[in-house]
């Protein structure tokens, strides 16, 4: 186990300073959509793809991977919660609960 301390201290610093954060999306099967799996640090897109493969598809989870710089994600503002989401709370007629689904349909 000797002779491998070089990367340790420097690596910890490097991870904080220089590497971009990427969001990882994995598609598990044909016909499914890519699902957010988590995030990785990597210096560029190729290394991000490899990191995503190594971190999130170790148990056969993946057929396809997307990586996107986290900074490219546009997120809603939490303070907009009332105007964006609360109005839907009173619109129960948008839920498909007012009719019987025949058994033959199976999963919807």
């Amino acid at each position: 186990m000797g002779g491998q301390t070089n990367g340790v201290a420097e690596g910890g610093v490097m991870a904080d300073r220089a590497t971009t954060l990427w969001e990882v999306f994995v598609r598990a099967r044909n016909g499914l959509s890519h699902r957010h799996a988590g995030s990785v640090h990597a210096a560029d897109s190729e290394m991000a793809l490899q990191a995503a493969r190594d971190v999130y598809t170790r148990r056969g989870e993946g057929l396809s991977i997307w990586v996107v710089p986290s900074a490219a994600i546009v997120a809603s503002d939490p303070s907009d919660k009332e105007s964006l989401f609360e109005p839907t709370g009173s619109k129960i007629y948008r839920h498909p609960t007012f009719y019987e689904v025949p058994d033959e349909v199976g999963n919807m």
Binding site: G2, Q4, V8, E10, G12, A15, T19, V40, H41, D54
Partner: protein, 235 residues
Amino acid sequence: MTSTSIKLNETPQTRAYLSLADDALILGHRTSEWTGHAPLLEEELALANIALDLIGQARALYQAAGDLTGHSEDELAYLRDPPMFRNALIMELPNGDFAFTIARLFLVSVASDQQWRRGFDDPALVAVADKAMKETAYHIRHAAEWLIRLGDGTDESHRRAQQAVDTLWPFTGEITAARQTWLDAVTPVLARATLRQPKDGWMQSGGRSGRHTEHLGHLLAEMQILPRTYPGATW
């Protein structure tokens, strides 16, 4: 209660198996030593994955060798002394810094990949190669991309990568019998990494015939202590 070392009456065929298997086991063990020490969590998992690929390849090869020698994979891995190991010397060198680990993984993986793809007459080896070549292709990709970034990175990373390649070069004579084919794959990556390719000169050898560096004994002491101290231990 300790387990006694085994000795084999090797044929050229068993020796060929053990060369492949020992290469994979010893490099796999070295790579696994990064667990808990890698520079990034992502790289920690990448190296652990690669180590597991290599140890898996070693297991398949020991099982195939076991059919010839009458020894189990555990006996072959854990109960042979250093002079009975047939791995190339480059596999047992200590990990050094990250650049050294990556440079070695690249140089060795190119040789392994070409070996798997060259094909075998032996059906047992064909089966191992069929699985291993996909794993090794990824090892090359991972190591090459890192080497390019280290070589063409900062002054410090370039210096370390160049030093690694220079130190490793005399150990590359043992890993391939098709030198020119190997060079054809290595040279373009070194060029992209802006690393100077050392001239082929005197080469280290001896691993295949069991004359190892002092590092192998230490590696095996750590790897073998548990099964030798507690024979037949299970978990």
